[in-house]
C-alpha cells in the first residue's frame, strides 16, 4: 500500500492568501495537492499537501496568489508515500 | 407615504435579485420605487447591499438612504456597517441564526426568520434572500404574494426561467412563515 520516492524539497502553503482557484491542483505532476474541506478566512477552500511532494515548483509557478514557497533539502531524501499518489 | 428598506448580505446571497423582485412587485401594484445597490467589485465574499424606497406617490427622496424604516440583514459580517441607518424602533428582519442576536433586539422591532433553514428545506440554501422578501411582504403588507410571483417571473432572463418556480416557492414559504402583519407599510402612522 505504499512506495518510496526520492524528493529534493517541499512546499509551504500560506493558506490565508489562497482564493481557491484550484489551478495548483492539476499543476502538481504527482497529484499530492487536494483542496481542503475547511475554508480560510476569505471563505475559500485551499490546497492541502499529501506526502510525496518533490519540491518541483509547479504549484508555485501556477498559483496567481503567491501562496506557495519552495524549500530544497540540503540532501535529497527518500520518503514513503501511499501507493498511487506518485503515479 | 415613503418607506425605506435596507438589505445587506454577502456576495452571492441573492440580495440584489430579491430586492428587484420586491421592487417589481411594488411597481406592478402601481407603487413608485427607487433602489440602489452596491457591491464591492468582483471579489467573492465582499459585501453587497441594497436600498429600496417605495411610496404611493412619486419619490423625491435621494437614492442614498440616510434613515430607513425597515431592514433585512442576511449576514452579520456587514450588518454592523448599516445598523446606524435603521431608525430606532424600525423593523429588522434578521436571517437567524446567521445574523447573531445582540443589542439590536432592544433597539429595533427585531424579528428572526430562519431563512436558511426554510430555504434548505426547499432544496437550495441560496434562496434564503427570497424567503426573507416573502416574509417581509407579509410582515409589512407592502405587496401581495401574487405580485411577488409575477415579479419573480419578470426578473429572470429567458435562459433562467426554469428557476422561476423554485424561487416562487421560496417567496411563498417566507410569506407563510409570518403569521400576521406587524408593521403596515401603507398605514399613515405607527
Amino acid at each position: 500500500m505504499s512506495a518510496t520516492i526520492l524528493t529534493r524539497g517541499t512546499v509551504t502553503i500560506d493558506i490565508a492568501l489562497c482564493k481557491g482557484c484550484e489551478l495548483c491542483i492539476p499543476a502538481c505532476p504527482i497529484d499530492v495537492l487536494t483542496m481542503s474541506e475547511a475554508r480560510n478566512d476569505r471563505g475559500e477552500h485551499y490546497p492541502e499537501l499529501a506526502p510525496g511532494c518533490t519540491g518541483c515548483g509547479a504549484c508555485y509557478f501556477v498559483c496567481p496568489d503567491f501562496v506557495f514557497g519552495i524549500y530544497e533539502y540540503e540532501t535529497p531524501k527518500t520518503i514513503s508515500v501511499p501507493e498511487g499518489a506518485a503515479s | 407615504m415613503e418607506r425605506e428598506l435596507l438589505m445587506t448580505g454577502i456576495g452571492g446571497q441573492g440580495v440584489q435579485l430579491a430586492t428587484q423582485v420586491l421592487a417589481r412587485a411594488l411597481t406592478l401594484e402601481g407603487r413608485y420605487v427607487m433602489s440602489l445597490g452596491t457591491y464591492a467589485g468582483s471579489m467573492r465574499g465582499a459585501n453587497t447591499d441594497t436600498s429600496l424606497v417605495y411610496a404611493d406617490a412619486p419619490i423625491s427622496t435621494p437614492p442614498i438612504v440616510a434613515r430607513a424604516w425597515s431592514a433585512v440583514a442576511m449576514h452579520h459580517r456587514f450588518w454592523g456597517d448599516m445598523k446606524s441607518k435603521l431608525a430606532e424602533g424600525g423593523l429588522l428582519l434578521a436571517n437567524a441564526p446567521v445574523v447573531e442576536r445582540d443589542g439590536d433586539v432592544d433597539r429595533f422591532d427585531y424579528v428572526e426568520i430562519p431563512a436558511v433553514a426554510i430555504a434548505t428545506g426547499l432544496g437550495a440554501a441560496l434562496g434564503a434572500a427570497m424567503v426573507m422578501i416573502g416574509a417581509y411582504a407579509r410582515m409589512t403588507s407592502a405587496v401581495s404574494i401574487d405580485s411577488l410571483r409575477q415579479a419573480m417571473a419578470q426578473s429572470l432572463p429567458p435562459y433562467r426561467q426554469k428557476h422561476v418556480a423554485s424561487n416562487i416557492a421560496m417567496l411563498e414559504a417566507g410569506y407563510a412563515h409570518v403569521a400576521q402583519p406587524l408593521h403596515s407599510a401603507w398605514e399613515a402612522a405607527r
Binding site: I13, D14, L17, C21, P26, F61, P64, D65, F66, F68 | -
Partner: protein
C-alpha cells in the same frame, strides 16, 4: 490521508529556493480574481529581472486594467500611466535614463485598443524598452467586454451572441503587427496555463531584457492570460478555455530574435 504541515519550513535542513512572492513585489495579497493569469505573468517578469541582477535599474510604466491594482504592490520605480499611453511614457523615461531597464505592462484593452498607435510607433522608433502585453481577450476591469483581440465567436458583455466578424471585426495579433517593423528586436508569445508554459514565458522575458540591455531594439513579450471572470467561466476552466479558443488564433513561440524574423514551429 495524512496532511503535511505546510505552514512552516520543513524541519529537515533546507534552504528556501523560491520565496512565496518575487522580491520586487511588496505584498502578495492582491485584489485580482481567483484564477487570474495576470499575477502569474507578472511574477515571471519580476523574477527574471531579479535573476538577471537588474533589480536596481528597473523602472516600469503600467497601463490601466486589472493589473493596475498591482502597481502599488510593485517594488520597482513606477509610473502609473493613462490607459493606452505607457509606451510613450516609457520612451520619455528611457531617453532620459538610457542606463535603466525600462519595461511596460499593459493589457490587450490598453495596448491593442486604446493605445495601439503608441506601441506601434514606439516599436518603429526602435525604443530600447521591453513591453509586456497581458492578453486575456477582454477588458477584465470593466467586466468582460470585447477588445481588439477577442476571438471570433467569443461571448462578451457587449457581444452577447459572440463576436461576429462581419459586425465586430477580426482580432488583431500584435506579434503580426510588430514583427515586420524595423525598430523591433524581439517578439514572442507565451501563456501561463501550465508550469511548462510558465518556464517558457520566463525564458522569453530573459531574452527580451537581454535585447534591451544589448540595445537591439524594442522587445515584446505577449502572454495569454486567463480571465475566468471576464469570460464568465468557473475559475477552474480558465486554462482549458484559453488553450482551446485563444491559443489557436494567437500562436505561441518566438517570431523575431536579435532583429531577425523567423517562423516558429507551429
Amino acid at each position: 490521508m495524512s496532511v503535511i504541515d505546510t505552514t512552516r519550513p520543513p524541519s529537515e535542513p533546507a534552504r528556501q529556493k523560491w520565496d512565496t512572492r518575487p522580491k520586487l513585489l511588496i505584498d502578495g495579497d492582491h485584489d485580482l480574481c481567483p484564477g487570474c493569469g495576470e499575477p502569474i505573468a507578472l511574477r515571471c517578469m519580476l523574477e527574471v529581472i531579479d535573476e538577471m541582477g537588474l533589480s536596481q535599474s528597473a523602472i516600469g510604466a503600467v497601463g490601466i486594467g486589472c493589473y493596475t491594482a498591482l502597481t502599488s504592490l510593485l517594488d520597482t520605480d513606477m509610473v502609473q500611466c493613462l490607459h493606452g499611453r505607457a509606451p510613450s511614457v516609457a520612451t520619455g523615461i528611457k531617453r532620459m535614463r538610457p542606463q535603466s531597464l525600462v519595461y511596460t505592462m499593459q493589457g490587450d484593452g490598453d495596448m491593442v485598443n486604446e493605445g495601439l498607435q503608441e506601441i506601434i510607433h514606439s516599436a518603429a522608433r526602435g525604443e530600447s524598452i521591453t513591453c509586456l502585453l497581458l492578453n486575456n481577450g477582454v477588458f477584465g476591469e470593466t467586466g468582460g467586454h470585447m477588445t481588439a483581440t477577442t476571438v471570433i465567436g467569443q461571448r462578451t458583455k457587449n457581444t452577447l451572441e459572440g463576436r461576429d466578424a462581419a459586425y465586430h471585426g477580426h482580432p488583431i495579433s500584435m506579434t503580426d503587427l510588430l514583427t515586420p517593423l524595423g525598430g523591433v528586436g524581439y517578439v514572442a508569445r507565451s501563456t501561463v496555463t501550465t508550469a511548462r508554459d510558465i518556464q517558457r514565458t520566463r525564458r522569453y522575458f530573459r531574452k527580451a531584457f537581454e535585447t534591451q540591455v544589448a540595445g537591439k531594439g524594442l522587445s515584446f513579450v505577449e502572454v495569454l492570460t486567463m480571465c475566468p471572470t471576464g469570460w464568465f467561466l468557473p475559475v477552474q476552466e480558465g486554462p482549458s478555455y484559453l488553450n482551446e479558443t485563444m491559443s489557436p488564433v494567437f500562436r505561441i513561440g518566438e517570431f523575431k530574435v536579435d532583429g531577425q524574423i523567423f517562423t516558429p514551429g507551429a
